[in-house]
Amino acid sequence: MTNWIDIGTIADIPRLGARTVETALGQVAVFRTAEDEVFALINKCPHKNGPLSEGIVMGRKVACPLHNWVIDLNSGHADAPDEGCTTPLALKDEGGRLLLGLDAVAAVAHG
């Protein structure tokens, strides 16, 4: 069972931007695309742990502010030729309220 935690509203995140959420798993970045899709990732670039929440969001990707690695918001994977992955978390938009699924994450993160 996923434990859905209300973390705020979609309006709290600027379009093509991100906010952070402090969790037991560490800092999580929640992103909002131009088309109002939302995604959540552990806020660490697989390259040198750069805070992805500070990157430029484009389409369903974000460019890390430190060295410009491009990370897929959906999968957490880095774009080729770079290799690496950060953990994606379950996030859903229910009528504007954002629900973060932390148990689902834990499952991914541990295993």
Partner: protein, 817 residues
């Protein structure tokens, strides 16, 4: 004179096949027929292929007219546009139109094209459902796009994808439903189809593959589609593009033989010897048609027969496909995959560049090619396939393209188009059947110099546009012109920086969305490379009007501090000309204590850096610094950084002028300005140059007689000593000339280009011409700089310290356990 009375030819269908046949006929037998054309559409003959480009906003209807009304008049053709034929009496040889008009014929040509295939779905008659076939459909789609509705496209073939892309370019959110797991499965193999989906997904299209549409949702009008697996896709506009079927209505009316299409023989005649048919309405040898290349062949044969030729006969040529989505390059011809053990597949991938190629080789012949990402060699492979050429000799190099395969040794030439190596009979334009030789000949004989002229005279690259790079290469090769394209900004566009900057001014583009639309950006949101550049270009072009897009700035410029490798920030207050006071120093010390700032460092730009500030502390740090009168030093900005000075005549025994005060004046004039890259100044009080002015973007070196102004220096990775610009006599002149150069660089520099490479690119002579030789021009630059500054000089720290601007940047959204 020929006294034989003219025969009467009636053509039903004013489309591509019908009018191409008439053109061919006029070329062969200009006076043989009195020609009457009926067209159901109220337009003259236009290039249907280009409707995709019209939808995407790349072309206007006027641009795609093939034969304007004047052409009909000149050739004595009677055109009834907007009057469909509704009946044919083959016994009395007359046709009847919807208007009641009756016209008799000796020969009749059916060229009625095809109809969009409609699935047997409930709800298909609701308003909001359109097909993609003619100008009327485009009008409906554009009206929907105006109203900013959402679109669903059913069908992931050529037509559906082009419709989806066009609507997306018009600003609609677009979802595409496709029955199969991969796109364009009839023209592409799985890998290329997957790459295509990935790239289009990146551009903001949403895909529902393996999606069987079950019904249209909505009662009054379409509200979306429901899929068999339970998914629903909302949309106010539903475009059905699942295929076409021959329009055989006129065949039925004339009572000629029909199967899937109107049956024709090799002579393009139907079962009635006086009735011919061409184009998508026909069926020949069990085959029906959906591309223009074979239709042009039919038109030739049909025209020859109508002109009295008795041997011309039609054979379906090999076909190739190309998708017309700007910036997405896909090509396929022949087999998509090995069909048995005798076939071999050769595959090449370059994932980083997004290039994929697959060749299918049977024995020593190439029988299929699928190219993705780089299709420059498509025409060449297609030639090998059509010509059934023996490729044994170059088998191991074939996959790398013509540039490599044609060499005796593979190291000899760079990959890509090798115009010299193409034989004259190599077919360049598949749509219009134009060979390299014909293009070379037209360029030479008619003195053609532009692509448009070549198109007008030869029709090469005038249809689908796939061969445009090849035609361009031939043009450059023959005319010897330098075809070297400017460096493109990024993967999102084919344009270079200068082109974009000019377009912003010429087309008065004032928002990022307008700009990307007008210039055909390939990605919906741009990328981390082009967004900051475009934001700067717009800001520079429209001061006071353009609203700075913070989402397009790098984090440092967004939070007005420098991100460090551990995610903390550094904060540098401005110290005008490097001069400070005890009160300021105390405030800095207090802030460092209060916020536990681990490192305090004196910078090379004569100020103090506080390193290791936590993001959430930034507003409070700024607030405290503001209290002491300290403002942002823009140590993070692509903008004015520091003005370094020495103490000058006030204290120094060598000093010739008050360099410190002059430095402060320059800094007060220039602070807050955004520039293509960072800008550093220095003012030295004498030629000993303690402020190191000769490695700055703008340096002022005071001398007894006045001020030497030097520009374009750089102390970074590539050290460059400044070039002397001029000697000035007053401080006021120094301010004016410095600001004018700054503005010139702001207007002409490429984003992330420092003044040193900028100067080398445009040349010192250019800068002298603009700043020294053109007094009025210099004064105008100065005025433009001051005008822009009137909007730029707000302390970003003050705006944020109070929690007003961008408060969300500095706080977590939530803390959860």
């Amino acid at each position: 004179m020929n006294s034989v009375p003219r025969q009467r030819l009636v053509v039903i269908g004013n489309g591509m096949a019908g009018m191409r046949t008439v053109e061919e006929l006029l070329a062969r037998a200009p006076v043989r027929y009195d020609i009457t054309v009926f067209g159901a559409e109220p337009h003259p003959n236009y290039n249907r292929i280009m409707l995709s480009s019209v939808l995407a906003g790349e072309k206007q209807i006027d641009d795609i007219i093939i034969n304007p009304r004047a052409w009909y008049t000149q050739n004595a053709i009677t055109l009834h546009a907007g009057d469909a034929v509704i009946g044919i009496d083959a016994k009395t040889k007359t046709v009847t139109a919807a208007s009641g008009l009756r016209v008799a014929y000796d020969k009749l040509l059916l060229a009625t094209g095809s109809k969009p295939l409609m699935p047997p779905l409930p709800g298909l008659d609701l308003p909001g459902i359109v097909t993609f076939r003619d100008i009327a459909d485009i009008d409906k789609m554009l009206a929907a796009a105006e109203a900013k509705q959402r679109a669903v496209v059913i069908g992931g073939g050529l037509l559906g994808l082009e419709a989806a892309w066009g609507l997306k370019r018009r600003g609609m959110p677009v979802a595409l439903v496709h029955l199969m797991p991969t796109l364009m499965e009839r023209q592409l193999d799985t890998e290329a189809g997957t790459l295509l989906q990935r790239d289009l997904d990146e551009r903001g299209l949403h895909f529902f593959t393996s999606g069987q549409t079950e019904r249209i949702i909505g009662s009054e009008r379409a509200e979306g589609v429901a899929l068999a697996d339970g998914r629903t896709v909302p949309g106010d506009l539903v475009v059905v593009a699942i295929g076409i079927r021959p329009n055989v209505d006129m065949g039925k009316a004339a009572d000629v033989d029909i199967n899937r299409g109107i049956l024709v023989g090799d002579d393009m005649a139907t079962s009635d010897p006086d009735i011919y048919a061409v184009g998508e309405c026909v069926e020949h040898n069990g085959q029906v048609f959906g591309l223009v290349a074979p239709i042009w062949e039919q038109a030739k044969v049909c025209a020859a027969r109508l002109a009295g030729d008795t041997v011309a006969s039609y054979v379906t040529p090999a076909l190739s496909t190309r998708l017309k989505i700007t910036g997405i390059d896909v090509f396929s011809a022949g087999k998509l995959a090995a069909e048995d053990d005798g076939d071999e597949e050769v595959v090449f991938r370059d994932a980083a560049k997004g290039v994929y190629r697959k060749l299918v080789v049977r024995g020593n012949r190439l029988v299929g090619a699928v190219l993705y990402g780089d299709v420059a060699d498509g025409g060449w492979y297609f030639d090998l396939i059509k010509g059934n050429k023996d490729v044994a000799e170059m088998r191991d190099r074939l996959i790398f393209g013509q540039g490599f395969a044609d060499q005796d040794c593979c190291g000899g030439s760079k990959a890509g188009l090798n115009v010299a190596a193409m034989t004259d009979d190599t077919q360049v334009c598949g749509c219009n059947g134009v060979s390299k030789g014909a293009i070379v000949k037209a360029i030479g004989e008619k003195g053609l110099t532009t692509l448009d002229e070549v198109r007008a005279h030869t029709k090469a690259s005038a249809s689908c546009g796939m061969c445009t790079p090849t035609v361009q290469a031939i043009l450059s090769f023959v005319t010897g012109s330098d075809a070297a394209a400017p460096e493109v900004m990024c993967k999102c566009t084919d344009h270079g920086h200068d082109h974009v900057r000019h377009a912003i001014l010429d087309q008065r583009l004032k928002t990022m969305a307008d700009l990307r639309e007008a210039l055909g950006w390939k990605t919906a949101d741009g990328c981390a490379k082009c967004r900051p550049a475009l934001n700067y270009y717009l800001l520079c072009a429209w001061p006071g009007e353009y609203v700075d897009d913070y989402r397009s700035r790098f984090i440092n410029e967004r939070v007005h501090a420098n991100i460090q490798k551990d995610g903390t920030y550094s904060v540098i207050p401005r110290m005008w000309g490097g001069v400070t006071t005890p009160a300021e120093l105390r405030a800095i010390a207090d802030v460092a204590d209060k916020f536990n700032i681990p490192t305090v460092k004196v910078t090379g730009g004569q100020r103090i850096d506080l390193l290791g500030v936590k993001k959430q502390d930034l507003p409070a740090v700024w607030g405290d610094l503001n209290q002491a009168g300290l403002v942002s030093g823009h140590g993070y900005a692509k903008g004015l950084r520091t003005v370094k000075t020495c103490v000058g005549s006030e204290w120094c025994r060598f000093g010739t002028q008050d360099s410190t005060a002059l430095g402060i004046k320059l800094e007060k004039m220039m602070w807050g300005s955004w520039t293509p890259h960072k800008v550093k100044l220095a003012v030295s009080g004498c030629p000993r140059n303690c402020a190191e002015a000769t490695i700055k973007d703008i340096g002022i070196i005071c001398v007894e007689a006045g001020y030497d102004m030097v520009i374009g220096g750089n102390g970074g990775i590539e050290v460059r000593v400044t070039d002397p610009l001029t000697r000035l006599t007053t401080e006021a002149e120094v301010l004016e000339y410095s600001a004018a150069f700054m503005q010139l660089y702001r207007e002409e520099g490429h984003y992330l280009e420092r003044t040193a490479p900028y100067l080398e690119r445009v040349g010192l002579a250019h800068i002298k011409a603009r700043i020294l030789e053109d007094d009025a021009g210099r004064k105008a630059l100065y005025a433009r700089f001051l005008f822009a500054q009137s909007f730029a000089q707000d302390d970003p720290w003050a705006e944020r310290a109070g929690g007003g601007v961008d408060a969300h940047e500095f706080q977590s959204l939530a803390v959860v356990s």
